[in-house]
């Protein structure tokens, strides 16, 4: 009996001393490091995929100054230096009021349009302590066409100049390289050119990026319009399709693209793209983003 006791004691001591030894600092450290919520960051490099908004937005107190150009169509031919003779320009200032709210104002030379938007972050893709498969944001904007009224003799209303955009941005960063976004869109225009033009436009945006290197990514964007063209319309509208690359250089992001859209705001490039890729109606363009920390 006594011997069993001793064996027991010996075993116990061995067991526990073993335990104490294996409970080394590394294990303790890992046990004490709290599990964190790992949010997906940099799903896209900039706040635009190409023409349309990406899920990204300015963080609090960060100001983005953006300049964009779209040159004329390639089918201008040699006479118009393949579109380079003319260009449409858009400027905007976009500010992160909080990490979840970005406000922006801009002006584009196409239809002399002023625009303003608000972008709200609703959900953030995350893993770790909290799991969320996608990021979700809501974008709303107002665009004001400031061209002179075509017929000044009739009664013209200010409200006729306005168009409203509502968009949900649903994005997922699948891995370090590949991200994808869906952007269901609704646009309401108070006044359209003819009776045949739709006042309410429904569209679905598809956007993707693939990182070629740490500072270079390949982007593609397509907006499918649910409103069919009326065969009686003089102007035929096409879905907006674009490919581009993002080049990041510290505080700048350069986006260079080929697109069939001349407009740089939702109200113009989604329902009013009049050029066709298959007819060489392709525009070269670029966006430059410069971020300042205020």
């Amino acid at each position: 009996m006594k011997r069993t006791h001793y064996i027991f004691i010996a075993l116990f001591l061995l067991l526990f001393s073993g335990n104490v030894q294996s409970q080394d600092l590394d294990a303790l450290l890992n046990a004490e490091t709290k599990p964190t919520v790992d949010y997906a960051t940099a799903t896209f490099k900039a706040s635009r995929i190409i023409n349309g908004h990406s899920i990204e937005q300015m963080k609090k107190k960060q100001l983005d100054f953006r300049i964009s150009h779209r040159f004329g169509p390639l089918n201008d031919g040699a006479y118009g230096l393949f579109g380079l003779d003319q260009s449409k320009i858009h400027f905007s200032l976009e500010y992160g009021v909080t990490d979840w709210l970005m406000l922006g104002v801009g002006r584009g030379s196409l239809n002399k349009t002023y625009d303003s938007f608000a972008k709200f972050r609703l959900l953030r893709q995350s893993s770790g302590a909290k799991w969320m498969p996608v990021s979700l944001s809501y974008l709303t904007s107002v665009e004001l066409n400031s061209l002179k009224f075509q017929d000044p003799t009739r009664t013209n209303y200010f409200s006729s100049r306005l168009a409203f955009v509502h968009q949900l941005l649903i994005a997922r960063k699948f891995n370090d390289k590949f991200s994808f976004q869906l952007s269901p869109t609704f646009i309401h225009r108070n006044l359209v050119k003819t009776e045949l033009d739709m006042k309410d436009v429904y569209a679905m945006g598809f956007g993707a990026r693939y990182k070629l290197s740490k500072r270079l990514s390949l982007n593609a964007e397509y907006y499918y319009n649910y409103n069919p063209n009326s065969k009686f319309l003089d102007t035929k509208y096409y879905n907006s399709a674009s490919v581009g690359i993002d080049i990041e250089t510290g505080g700048h992001v350069f986006q260079i693209m080929l697109t069939n859209s001349l407009g740089m705001r939702e109200g113009s490039f989604i329902p009013q793209t009049t050029d066709n890729w298959f007819d060489k109606g392709i525009h070269l363009g670029f966006n430059i983003s410069r971020v300042f920390a205020l």
Binding site: F12, L28, T33, R215, G250, V291
Partner: protein
């Protein structure tokens, strides 16, 4: 008899596990700073975890890359995306020993020490010897250190495009206020 013995043994064993004289800080401060004429970069974390073993002077640090914050949101993004590759290498670690360690160092006023150990950043191990201080300050056991490391040593490539904005060396500042472990 056996039962009593068991209880006694358990007590001894558990006392052994807890009473080993380990100290912990769960909110240790770590920063890195780079200064060039073009730009100052400061990343700070207040969530590093460190444990100090008073039996042998062994000291470990662990810090999650995602806990580092910057004044410019873009710097934070670039830090995680382009330099540290935080999804691949989420942690930085240090495991070292205080040179010429004596238990009295932990109860004496703050004094200079040297720590030699392995620093693991961006998945790369490097043996470093860094200066530091340890001792009682304001009634608490405090350890601090300031040293320089080169990103290149850890396989972190700074492209020529931003070479004049990111310093060749980063100044690392560490400060921890320890409490006895298990309290």
């Amino acid at each position: 008899m056996l039962k009593k013995l068991l209880i006694l043994l358990l007590l001894v064993a558990s006392a052994g596990a807890f009473g080993q004289g380990k100290f912990i800080a769960k909110n240790a401060y770590i920063s890195f700073y780079s200064s060039t004429p073009m730009e100052d970069i400061l990343g700070e974390s207040n969530e590093a975890v460190t444990i100090l073993d008073s039996s042998n002077g062994e000291i470990v640090f662990q810090s999650l890359m995602s806990t580092f914050h910057f004044k410019r949101a873009l710097m934070e993004e670039h830090f995680n995306e382009n330099y540290m590759e935080s999804t691949k290498f989420p942690k930085a670690k240090f495991k070292g020993t205080i040179e010429g360690f004596k238990k009295e160092m932990l109860t004496a006023p703050v004094a200079n020490i040297k720590i030699t150990g392995v620093l693991n950043v961006h998945g790369v191990d490097k043996t470093v010897t860094v200066p530091g201080t340890i001792g009682i300050e304001g009634g608490k056991l405090v350890a601090a250190s300031k040293f320089k490391v080169a990103p290149e040593d850890f396989g972190i490539v700074i492209p020529s495009l931003v070479r004049d904005k990111v310093g060749k060396e980063m100044e690392i500042t560490v400060k921890a206020i320890y409490l006895p472990y298990g309290q």
